[in-house]
């Protein structure tokens, strides 16, 4: 599946308190979360996020375990997060809820705010159509690919319990 979107660039160590501040966690309704996503860092984020690709530095999604963070990004219309690397809980959460993520240092270094990227998620290719650059993301480990192809972790849970009769 090909996805195309404009880059919103941000820095290293973007934490989940910045992605969705805890003061809004009295709900888990995604559209309410989306309205406040990233607002402490980029005031008009909810206006520019639809169809965009977030390109961040290292340790994206560090801090709290709130699944509200990838959910808010997805609901605000972000189609993929590309980062040098992800904090481990965010990484699991994004896979589990189906927010596309890619790890690619070169893309982080060579893409600028406002560039248009074309992504081929299944192959992990990132094509910068502004200048023709092509980057390859780190492939997912086999087990993660299995979760994705099962249609998410909870489908896997179904299979586990059916097999073992829990």
């Amino acid at each position: 599946m090909k996805l195309t979107g404009k880059v919103i660039k941000c820095s290293d160590n973007i934490d989940t308190d910045v992605i969705i501040p805890a003061r809004y966690l009295n709900t888990s309704k995604e559209e309410e979360l989306a309205a406040h996503c990233m607002e402490d860092l980029i005031a008009n984020f909810s206006e520019i996020a639809r169809g965009a690709i977030l390109v961040a530095g290292k340790n994206f999604g560090c801090g709290s375990s709130r699944e509200h963070a990838p959910a808010a990004l997805r609901a605000s219309g972000i189609i993929c997060v590309i980062a040098e690397d992800f904090a481990r809980i965010f990484y699991r959460n994004a896979i589990n809820i189906g927010l596309p993520i890619l790890e690619c240092l070169e893309a982080v270094v060579y893409c600028s705010d406002g560039d248009t990227l074309e992504l081929e998620l299944s192959e992990g290719t990132i094509h910068n159509i502004m200048n023709g650059d092509i980057f390859h993301a780190v492939p997912f480990p086999g087990f993660i690919q299995e979760i994705i192809s099962e249609g998410g972790l909870m489908n896997m849970a179904r299979k586990c319990t059916e097999v073992e009769g829990i």
């Binding site: 805890a22 003061r23 402490d40 699944e67 481990r88 809820i97 909870m154």
Partner: protein, 417 residues
């Protein structure tokens, strides 16, 4: 084959003799935790995928602590949804206002988690239980729904950093200073995907409360888990509930890097905004005026933290521009503090004493900051907007440094009081 303390516990929970760094295993869980913010999402996942029953009603703990006693209608709805689920599923360990406390202080106190256990929780500070020689780690709600349904979790076997603590720390140096010092050394991603393991003579000098503080903040260096060797103190702590399963470092080859920390050289540490790794010594800061002091949280809301704060606040009064909020982490700690006369000390010194809650730690309620305000707090995170307005600031420190700031109205080393 040489394994770390973490690897041994995971191996024991997937029926294996050995595990290798980087491989992914399915392990069984001894306790699965969620709170008022994260439980509702997990509950909905279980329902959406047609799970009529949890794997074991005795092995799930649900603690209403973040926005409780509920601060508004929306947070009350989240608790109500969780409460309905616990009745429906007959969940044994459900803790609500009056019974509750901050989850990571409450579960060890009740003996629900302990040495040798494998625990997962929908809260990043689930790593706290490593202080008892357990493997425990935080995850998101869907991962926790998976564990609630199956009693299992998938784990990638982490590599590990070993910290050998040596010698006795000075009077005002506690677990908080040690872990802040280490986070400053590693950075907020220095232990990403790894275990942080602790051993050494210095550990024996530290109370169980100090050890909980150390394990609690390993996530702030990005760690998957933190784990400490067990000893006589662990045995004493666990005695009312269970026998301690010894947890010891066996071979140094199992570790990616080894650090020696001489505790006698440390001074009280402060983490400046907006990162727990942005550290300096309290005596290096001049004229940092403070509007609010918070002493509490899953990091430093335990009895010995309150005892230290009271030692400084006794027969003194907080600075008139410095609101001071004290939050015992559990009902038991509150009651113990009351019996020791600490609560009287706090009130006479002009502090607010709150019922157990996470409250201001995450900018929820009970002490939210206005624009331009500055707090010093014994909590664990000082990210932008963590305690309120995005233009407020949080400094992190020990109970001693926070209490000293309450008196002085600015950051000073506790010795100066």
């Amino acid at each position: 084959m040489s394994m770390t303390m973490t690897q041994k516990i995971i191996a024991a929970h997937c029926g294996r003799e050995n595990v290798r760094v980087g491989e992914i295993v399915m392990a069984s869980t001894d306790m699965v935790l969620a709170n008022d913010i994260t439980a509702p999402i997990a509950i909905r996942e279980l329902k959406n995928y047609g799970f009529g029953q949890v794997f074991d009603r005795e092995k799930i703990a649900l603690v209403m602590d973040h926005f409780t006693p509920c601060k508004d209608i929306k947070s009350a709805e989240q608790c109500a949804e969780t409460r309905r689920f616990t009745v429906e599923q007959n969940i044994r360990h459900f803790y609500d206002s009056g019974e509750a406390g901050i989850e990571h202080a409450l579960l060890p106190e009740k003996g629900l988690v302990g040495s040798g256990d494998l625990i997962v929780g929908a809260d990043s500070h689930t790593c706290t239980y490593g202080a008892l020689g357990a493997f425990s780690t935080g995850m998101g709600s869907t991962d926790i729904a998976f564990s609630m349904a199956t009693g299992k979790t998938w784990l990638k076997i982490p590599s590990a950093l070993l910290f050998i603590l040596k010698n006795k720390p000075g009077k005002w140096v506690c677990g908080k200073d040690i872990i802040l010092h280490i986070i400053g050394m590693l950075g907020t991603d220095g232990a990403r995907y790894k275990s942080m393991e602790f051993c050494g003579d210095g550990l024996k000098q530290l109370s169980m409360d100090d050890r909980f503080t150390i394990a609690n903040m390993t996530i702030e260096a990005g760690a998957k888990n933190g784990i400490l060797e067990t000893d006589n103190q662990t045995v004493e702590y666990e005695k009312p509930h269970r026998n301690t399963i010894p947890c010891k470092v066996s071979v140094s080859e199992a570790y990616e890097s080894i650090y020696e920390i001489d505790l006698s050289t440390l001074r009280p540490v402060v983490a400046k905004p907006h990162s727990p790794a942005n550290i300096c010594y309290a005596d290096e800061l001049e004229d940092i005026k403070i509007n609010q002091v918070v002493i509490g949280s899953c990091t430093n809301g335990r009895l010995s933290d309150l005892v230290t704060a009271a030692e400084i606040l006794r027969e003194r009064h907080v600075h008139r521009h410095c609101r001071t909020i004290i939050i015992p982490a559990t009902q038991k700690i509150y009651l113990d503090a009351l019996r020791l006369g600490l609560i009287e000390t706090f009130i006479e010194a002009g502090c607010v004493v709150s019922t157990p809650t996470c409250g201001p730690c995450l900018g929820g309620h009970m002490g939210v900051l206005a624009k331009g305000e500055r707090a010093i707090s014994t909590t664990n995170r000082n990210f932008i907007g963590r305690m309120g307005h995005p233009e407020s600031e949080v400094f992190l420190a020990s109970p001693a440094v926070a209490a000293a700031a309450a008196i002085a109205g600015k950051i000073v080393p506790p010795d100066n009081i």
